[in-house]
């Protein structure tokens, strides 16, 4: 959502609170405008990683949050742009990603004689199954586990702060209502399952 449309929203809210509330349709409009804005923002120009590194990051991002039948994965939602942009502003972060991606490639090459992106899906997941868990900590895997922790944290952050992620997880707030109400369906759901 552009600064202009946010300003429209704020004006809308200022107006609507005096008139008795923002309509559900108007609230939905806010969300849609936000989503459209992202879609029309054009092509991101990679700033910090080289094209192989960026490609590897895209693969990794989609392994962490894969696309499914209903929604795009982390790569399409802008996770790699977020990471690349921050890495372009911080040499320490850049080193974490260039070093981590190089480690992935070297380890894949040692095991399967190919780099991470070119490896078969089952080869990729076989390596991730090792480095995605602290319990596998060892001298061999340590750097990979450390790197994957960074990648997972940042990909998850980027995904769920994107218009796609916000929609997928079902956050429906950040709007204006004249009366706060809790849907009975949600109350019943929790009370039925609650020990108290």
């Amino acid at each position: 959502m552009s600064e202009l449309s946010r300003r429209d929203l704020l004006q809308n809210i200022a107006l609507s609170v005096t008139l008795g509330g923002l309509s559900p349709a108007a609230a939905q409009h806010v969300h849609n405008v936000a989503a459209d804005e992202k879609a029309s923002s054009g092509v991101y120009k990679v700033k910090a990683l080289n094209s192989h590194e960026y490609q590897t990051l895209e693969k990794l991002a989609d392994l962490i949050i894969p696309p499914d039948e209903k929604s795009p994965g982390a790569a399409a939602s802008g996770a790699c742009e977020f990471i690349d942009l921050l890495a372009s502003q911080n040499s320490r972060l850049l080193q974490i990603y260039t070093g981590g991606i190089a480690w992935l490639d070297q380890t894949m090459t040692r095991r399967y004689s190919t780099n991470f992106v070119k490896a078969k899906p089952n080869q990729q997941t076989a390596l991730l199954d090792l480095i995605a868990y602290r319990r596998n900590e060892s001298a061999d895997l340590g750097p990979g586990i450390e790197f994957f922790d960074w990648a997972r944290r940042m990909v998850v952050d980027a995904y769920y702060t994107s218009p796609t992620g916000i929609q997928v997880i079902g956050y429906v707030g950040n709007t204006s209502v004249s009366k706060f109400e809790v849907p009975q369906e949600a109350v019943d759901y929790a009370l039925k399952r609650s020990p108290v």
Binding site: Y133, D157, A190, P195
Partner: protein, 572 residues
């Protein structure tokens, strides 16, 4: 010593600081026709421009973590996150403070019109009748020179004017006030209420400075949960929007911003005649002449100003013949604990934003209990619900689940909105090892000597934090949650908040009937300087488990009316 230009105007009252205390005094005096100079160390605030209300995280390229991912490598560059309103920080460039060896203390300062009210949690609780007589009840601390009944009419005025939600409950530890309707509990808050009931713990409607009906020209809350970002419709209380801006419209208030008070100027008789301040833009010293002065800089900053106002007649600082300026410092005891609640997993999605804060809370319930292991008590704040996703929102899930792919995603989705946590805010009793004084070796960038903090918790507070843990664990487990955090070794100092961390520091210029053990009389007027008043939390004699803001407003209101009356009688 600097000479005051003889032609400069003389204000009836100079008020230093524009937070809850200064904002209230400004509003009350301006309404009574008094001519006021309001002196603020920071810049003005412009809600339309400065507030980030209703922004989505993706509207900023760094999504809120900071340029270069700063928040991943250490504390966020913004004390409460990027989207929170301008409200100062734990460190201010060029304005240090020091901490004595062996002590730990953090000092949060806001230099901006409205001060810390721009961001505060809006929790607005009256002190209980017994909070004014702590020494009489348990032999610890000191009694106040005023009673609940003396302050109650000002609680009424404060609540009526700023607007506070709540419900009439008749609970002695949480006196009822003039309340607006509180919105209904969220789903997780209903579960907390049921678990609390089973444990015989009260859990009642929240008392927040949020208006749920139009009040004094301010529209009602629109339930976006973003109070902390600053509210463009001023539907919550901040002194900037609710008191200072309207007071400026009376034409009786002259606001000085970026004006850092350095010293109060007193005549040989000991009366204050002016305020010397640094104009930050030009880094030059200037003066404001006044007939009386009200300090409202925040408890520690007000104490610093008095300690730095030394003269031959006042070698220990102005109004400090008792030596009590800076002493009796306290903060609130803080401790938090949470757990994921299985009954809330996969909860049907809905808008649970509501007010910016909890809709129910737990007032202290053991005020009458015998055989308690610690004196005094605490209240409990509750959080949960579907928050707007932000950087770090699912760090806990990533850590707990690890892995990747669909499993991780499903886990995050199941847990979204299922985490419930409690934060206790309890009473610290003043002790002789906790105070602030002037560091003899350090000045800030304006050459003003800085504060040095000395801080110690005693067993009273450590046992209280331990009790918080056990209570929170019991409620969470009753709700079906599993607490994974091991119980800290509280008696070894683990778990409890750091001094200053809860930002409830107060008591440093306390009121009392005895000029040997207090600085101010029962009207918050200095025993030794008749035209010097204090209107922040520095006059507080104790730090009850109620959060100070509402009491600052009520006491400042009372002080302002008294000052206006004394001016009318020509006593000051």
């Amino acid at each position: 010593m600097f000479q005051i230009a003889p032609r400069s105007p003389v204000y009836d009252v100079a008020i230093i600081g524009s937070g809850a205390g200064g904002g209230t005094v400004t509003k009350v005096l301006a309404d009574l026709g008094v001519n006021v100079a309001l002196i603020e160390a920071g810049p003005p605030i412009d809600p339309a421009k400065d507030f980030k209300e209703h922004m989505w995280p993706y509207q900023v390229p760094h999504r809120g973590v900071g340029e270069g991912g700063a928040g991943y490598f250490g504390p966020s560059p913004w004390a409460f996150g990027y989207f929170t309103t301008t409200s100062g920080g734990w460190e201010l460039p060029g304005e240090p403070y020091t901490v004595a060896p062996g002590s730990k203390f953090e000092w949060f300062r806001s230099r901006v019109v409205g001060g810390r009210t721009n961001h505060f949690g809006r929790i607005s609780l009256r002190f209980a009748d017994y909070d004014f007589t702590p020494y009489s009840r348990d032999g610890l601390g000191t009694d106040w020179p005023i009673t609940y009944d003396e302050l109650a009419p000002y609680y009424d005025k404060a609540e009526s004017f700023i607007g506070v939600t709540g419900s009439k409950e008749g609970i002695r530890s949480a006196p009822d006030g003039i309340f607006q309707q509180c919105p209904p509990p969220r789903v997780h808050e209903m579960l907390v209420q049921r678990a609390a009931k089973k444990l015989n713990i009260p859990c009642i409607a929240s008392r927040l400075a949020v208006i749920t009906k139009p009040t004094n020209g301010r529209p009602a809350c629109h339930y976006c949960a973003q109070c902390g970002r600053g509210c463009v419709t001023a539907s919550n209380y901040s002194s900037s929007q609710v008191q200072v801006f309207p007071a400026l419209k009376t034409g009786r208030v002259k606001l000085f911003t970026n004006a850092m008070a350095r010293e109060l100027i007193a005549d040989p008789s000991g009366k204050v005649t002016g305020v010397s301040y640094i104009d930050k833009a030009s880094r030059t010293e200037r003066q404001i002449r006044c007939r009386s002065v009200v300090l409202a800089c925040g408890a520690c900053e007000s104490a610093r100003l008095l300690l730095n106002s030394k003269s031959a007649a006042h070698p220990n600082g102005l109004a400090n013949g008792s030596g009590h300026v800076g002493r009796n410092l306290t903060d609130s005891v803080g401790y938090s604990l949470g757990a994921s609640i299985p009954a809330l997993e996969e909860l049907p999605r809905h808008n649970s934003d509501g007010m910016g804060g909890m809709h129910v809370y737990i007032p202290w319930w053991l005020w009458d209990a015998k055989n308690k292991e610690f004196p005094r008590g605490y209240h409990v704040e509750i959080s949960g619900g579907f928050h707007m996703p932000a950087i770090g929102s699912f760090a806990r899930e990533c850590r707990e689940h690890e892995g990747y792919g669909k499993d991780l995603k499903d886990f995050i989705h199941a847990r979204y909105g299922a985490y419930v946590s409690f934060a206790g805010r309890g009473e610290q009793i003043p002790n002789e090892n906790t105070y602030c004084d002037i560091d003899p070796d350090v000045v800030d960038q304006y050459g003003i000597p800085v504060l040095r903090f000395h801080f110690k918790w005693t067993d009273n507070e450590l046992k209280q934090a331990q009790h918080m843990h056990d209570t929170f664990q019991a409620i969470l487990e009753t709700m079906g949650g599993r607490v994974t955090r091991p119980r800290p070794n509280f008696m070894a100092g683990e778990g409890i908040s750091m001094g200053g961390e809860i930002i409830h520091e107060l008591g440093t210029i306390r009121m009392g009937n005895d000029p040997n053990t207090s600085v101010l009389n029962k009207h918050c007027q200095a025993h030794e300087v008749k035209n010097l008043f204090v209107a922040d939390a520095a006059p507080f004699v104790s730090n009850p488990d109620k959060n100070p803001t509402l009491s600052i407003i009520a006491l400042a209101w009372r002080t302002a009316e008294y000052l206006a009356e004394e001016m009318r009688k020509r006593n000051v």
